[in-house]
């Protein structure tokens, strides 16, 4: 029997990667807070994870990759910028916590593996 790290770590390695990608998008939104005409965008985490799971199972994903979505502002501004800094800050902070959570899960899995290897 061989240990496959990909199987051992489960969905969390993928989740970590998607979280990092989302961090980049949210950072870009925050960076372009005062750029006229900039449209804020975000990842649909659930959709991306489903797509990844489907790709791993060898299924063809139907339709276009609906990964990047545009944010609908609560209060549209005159210069066409759809970044609402409070929303972005909240999303960024939540995303950073989710990243930590994925990391903690991976750490727990690794600790479990270590225990199995050392036979305690």
């Amino acid at each position: 029997m061989t240990i496959n790290f990909k199987d051992a770590l489960g969905v969390h390695a993928d989740a970590l990667h998607v979280r990092a990608e989302r961090t980049k998008m949210l950072a870009a939104n925050i960076a372009n807070e005062s750029t006229p005409g900039y449209t804020a965008r975000d990842l649909d985490f659930g959709a991306v994870m489903q797509q990844r799971a489907a790709e791993e199972n060898g299924e063809l994903s139907l339709g276009d990759s609906a990964e990047t979505l545009y944010r609908v502002p609560f209060q549209p501004s005159a210069d066409g910028n759809t970044v609402e800094i409070g929303v972005e800050q909240a999303a960024f902070s939540q995303n950073a916590s989710d990243f930590q959570t994925s990391l903690t899960f991976i750490n727990m899995k690794l600790r479990g593996l270590q225990k199995a290897i050392s036979g305690q």
């Binding site: 980049k24 950072a27 925050i30 372009n32 750029t35 006229p36 990047t68 990391l103 600790r111």
Partner: protein, 134 residues
């Protein structure tokens, strides 16, 4: 993983906001600058930001240009002023100090937000480095 890209994005925003703060400092400093004619009068500077999109996963900010405000300048009758023209008129700048102060707060807040983003990225990266340690 794109941590370097994220730092670049936050860094570009900080650079853009410092250009904005620079123009605000210049505008506030020259709020009461007088000149003998309209052509020589100081006009408020405003930076123009634009997004640099790399694929569709967000992008950096760049300062496209710094433009001069087209608002009307203040012409005041001050015959005693050494800069006064033949009619005794002096042209002051078109800087709106109150608007500049509000803009300054907005710019420094935006700068701080990006510093915060950088700090968060740093701690995420550090905990990623500690992966598997315990």
């Amino acid at each position: 993983m794109g941590f370097k890209d994220i730092s670049n994005i936050a860094g570009s925003a900080m650079a853009a906001q410092s250009v904005r703060l620079n123009t605000i400092a210049s505008n506030l400093a020259n709020a009461d600058t007088a000149a003998p004619s309209e052509a020589e009068a100081y006009r408020a500077r405003k930076p123009v930001f634009a997004a640099v999109m790399e694929n569709d996963a967000g992008g950096r900010v760049q300062v496209l240009d710094v433009v001069k405000s087209a608002d009307p300048v203040r012409t005041v009758y001050e015959p005693g002023n050494p800069l006064a023209n033949a009619e005794g008129m002096v042209v002051y700048s078109n800087v709106n100090s109150v608007a500049e102060m509000a803009d300054m707060m907005s710019a420094s807040r935006a700068f701080e937000t990006n510093v915060e983003v950088l700090g968060r990225i740093k701690s995420m990266q550090q905990s990623l480095l500690k992966l598997g340690e315990g």
